[in-house]
């Protein structure tokens, strides 16, 4: 068989391929004149007036915020909506005069929803783009992978991740989560409702990585204090695409299935759960993460009717929405069903993405408090953020009021429990901030800057 038939390309006079048809760079002709031209052009660019302007007038130069985004990988749907929300917030802030009179400029890099790549991106922001801060991302394994890079580069890293890792004080002093409540607090504030309204015997299904472990570790004690118990815990690899094989592990006496799944296969998960149980199902309590960016009226999801979900910020417009909430939805461009205005099939990640909007306003507040001028003031910015204590509900914090614990770099807000009713999610219970407060596990402010 003709593995090495005579190459037709070989004799076409192209000097850059060798006899095996591979490229041979030694034969390419890069003349000295070409090289000199390139050098000259490069030198000309750096001397161009545009580059000098900002260094002469720093006060008007934009504040550069490096945005670590899940553009690709399993978090891509979140990444796209995080970008949309952040762009809307930046526009709102810039239209109102920016931060200390300087506009914000977002520099976006793709982290591929991958921890190693995430750390590289943080390094790139610090050393190459020279951004003022890094603003971040959802998936907890990416945040945990990136946090050391933020610490090494001494660049503040604001995340919207929901995980408990920031508040656990196991990361470092440069990592903050001021825009979304962490999972431990969410679980603690909702456990009484679950025990009182859904059932006492709970089976948990969660993804087999950091975010899932927060649920695994904090739900059992939170339920125990309410007289309920977790009777089984089922961990599922985050890249799994078929779930029926896990369902036999759910004990027959289960009263509530507590599910929190992430990634592209979430719809399959819920559909297969429906096929497995039909109408004769236990109560379902899920984190909306299981269905973010997915239409609740997709075929196969009918069986979710009557089940309950956690929502950070409600996907569907509610009757009692505040003026700030309405303005926020309009600015981001989502309709009353939480889908993109103009494309009803493009469902948002409403329950999480509000955190991007609120975090950018926290950054603005902290930078103004610190009198932030440039990267040399990063330490001051960290201290100014730690000094914050509460955020009032309003246009800057449309999801609701929050308190902030500067020692653990974590905010605490209200949580929504919503019921699936007539193809919509209706908020049936709102927790209070106090419900979710817990004893601090450490203190970042004792670490050196």
């Amino acid at each position: 068989m003709p593995r090495y038939r005579q190459s037709k390309l070989k004799n076409r006079g192209t000097a850059v391929t060798d006899k095996n048809g591979f490229f041979d760079l030694s034969r390419s002709t890069l003349s000295r004149r070409t090289a000199l031209k390139g050098l000259a052009a490069g030198a000309g660019l750096t001397l161009a007036p545009g580059f000098v302007r900002y260094s002469q007038a720093q006060s008007s130069a934009p504040i550069k915020i490096g945005f670590q985004s899940h553009r690709t990988g399993i978090g891509a749907a979140y990444g796209r909506w995080y970008e949309k929300t952040s762009a809307a917030a930046v526009k709102a802030i810039n239209d109102a005069g920016g931060i200390n009179g300087r506009p914000i400029e977002l520099v976006i890099e793709d982290d591929g929803t991958d921890p190693a790549r995430g750390a590289e991106v943080v390094g790139k922001f610090a050393t190459q783009h020279k951004t003022d801060i890094v603003f971040g991302t959802l998936f907890s394994h990416v945040v945990m992978g990136s946090a050391p890079a933020a610490g090494e580069n001494k660049i503040p890293y604001f995340v919207v991740s929901e995980g408990h890792h920031v508040a656990s004080t196991k990361l470092n002093r440069y990592v903050f989560q001021p825009g979304i409540t962490d999972v431990k607090s969410q679980i603690q504030s909702m456990a009484p409702w679950i025990a009182a309204n859904a059932g006492k015997k709970v089976t948990q299904i969660f993804p087999d990585f950091a975010f899932g472990y927060d649920h695994r570790d904090y739900l059992p004690p939170a339920l125990k204090t309410q007289g309920a118990e977790v009777i089984a815990q089922i961990a599922i690899p985050p890249t799994e695409s078929s779930f029926t094989k896990y369902f036999p592990q759910i004990p027959a006496e289960t009263e509530v299935i507590y599910h929190v799944m992430v990634g592209p296969a979430v719809l399959t998960f819920v559909k297969e759960l429906g096929e497995f149980y039909g109408s004769n199902r236990p109560q379902l309590f899920g984190f909306i993460d299981s269905l973010e960016a997915t239409d609740i009226n997709s075929p196969g999801l009918e069986f979710l009717d009557g089940s309950h979900f956690w929502e950070g910020s409600p996907r569907y417009a509610q009757a009692d929405d505040s003026a700030a909430q309405k303005a926020y939805r309009a600015a981001v461009g989502i309709d009353d069903n939480g889908a993109s205005v103009g494309d009803a099939k493009d469902v948002s990640t409403a329950a999480h993405m509000f955190g991007c909007w609120e975090t950018l306003y926290v950054v603005k507040k902290a930078m103004e408090d610190a009198g932030y001028k440039g990267p040399e003031d990063r330490a001051k910015l960290v201290e100014a953020t730690e000094a914050l204590t509460e955020f009032a509900e309003g246009p800057e914090h449309p999801q609701g009021p929050k308190t902030f614990n500067g020692k653990i770099h974590q905010c605490f807000g209200i949580q929504n429990i919503s019921k699936v009713e007539g193809g919509k999610l209706k908020v049936v219970h709102k927790t209070k901030i106090e419900d979710g407060l817990y004893e601090a596990e450490g203190d970042y402010t004792t670490q050196a800057l």
């Binding site: 068989m1 003709p2 593995r3 090495y4 038939r5 190459s7 390309l9 095996n20 048809g21 591979f22 553009r71 690709t72 990988g73 399993i74 891509a76 749907a77 990444g79 796209r80 690899p237 890249t239 799994e240 695409s241 078929s242 029926t244 094989k245 896990y246 369902f247 036999p248 027959a252 592209p264 296969a265 979430v266 719809l267 399959t268 559909k271 297969e272 096929e275 497995f276 149980y277 039909g278 960016a293 997915t294 997709s298 075929p299 196969g300």
Partner: protein
């Protein structure tokens, strides 16, 4: 759940995996067997079938069955055409050099994947199954559509077998596989056979994806697992052996289903990989492969 129903569920899940895997791996095995090249982009041809199925079934109004059946015919044809173009533009120009083909198809993998991300987007989108009958067993419910996948895959495998063994095209393909130089000497247009086989391999993968997409949504990264599993199946079954591919697919699919139901999915992957290692050590040509001449 008791042992009996538990085992039944495991076997059903395993058979669905086997059915899809057999089709995907058969495509890879044909390319491997006839052209003697490794197509690393095979998983992406599989993936392409799913977004196309989504696009076609959403574009066609009316009952989901119409959209799905149209997708089942059109999507593989489009994927086949893309594969044909790729073969003409890339593989042929490399003269099917095995090493260069691996590198080139790795490049194709990324190009196809990123094009899907650019034009289709990062979301996982559902395709409505042609029918949604739920089989109610005394212990659990099971999707009727999943069972139909097993049947459809079986039919396609039989059809492929008939084409390979009973038709002139099949004879030409087998002759090329057996000894391409002699085949060429006898006037068989080996170049065109290669192009056809490459397109056929991609189409089989695309059909598998269209079949699976109603139960697991279309997503631009969905080609990775099938590629890995297809390699495992092809290595265990033997290069270019249809029988070996089917037997290995059932073996891997069932063991994956049963082991992951009773133990853990990770253990299932470990055992499959161990099996590959054992086959490579004790029977390098695969269970049903013939030693290279």
């Amino acid at each position: 759940m008791h042992f009996g129903p538990h085992l039944l569920l495991a076997a059903l899940e395993g058979l669905v995996t086997s059915a899809v895997l057999a089709l995907t791996a058969l495509g890879l095995s044909l390319v491997f067997g006839v052209m003697r090249v490794v197509n690393v982009a095979h998983g992406e041809f599989f993936m392409l079938g799913a977004p196309l199925a989504w696009a076609i079934s959403t574009a066609i109004p009316g009952h989901p069955t119409v959209g799905f059946l149209t997708a089942l015919v059109i999507a593989p044809l489009i994927v086949g055409a893309i594969a044909l173009v790729a073969e003409r533009l890339v593989l042929r120009r490399l003269n099917y050099n095995p090493e260069a083909t691996i590198v080139a198809t790795i490049g194709m993998l990324y190009i196809i994947q990123q094009l899907a991300l650019s034009f289709y987007g990062p979301e996982a989108r559902p395709v409505e199954p042609p029918f949604s009958y739920r089989i109610l067993l005394p212990w659990f419910g099971y999707s009727g559509y999943k069972l139909s996948i097993i049947a459809a895959s079986g039919l396609l495998l039989v059809a492929t077998w008939l084409v390979l063994t009973r038709t002139k095209i099949g004879l030409i393909m087998r002759a090329t596989q057996y000894d391409s130089e002699t085949a060429q000497a006898f006037g068989i247009p080996v170049d065109r056979v290669y192009a056809g086989v490459f397109a056929l391999g991609a189409m089989l993968a695309a059909i598998a994806a269209v079949l699976i997409v109603p139960i697991s949504q279309a997503h631009y990264l969905m080609g990775q697992d099938p590629l890995l599993l297809s390699f495992i199946v092809v290595i265990i079954g033997g290069l270019g052996s249809l029988r070996g591919t089917v037997v290995a697919a059932v073996l891997i699919g069932l063991s994956d289903g049963i082991i992951s139901v009773f133990f853990s999915p990770t253990l299932a992957k470990i055992i499959a990989t161990l099996l590959v290692a054992m086959v490579l050590v004790f029977r390098p040509q695969g269970l049903f492969g013939t030693a290279p001449r």
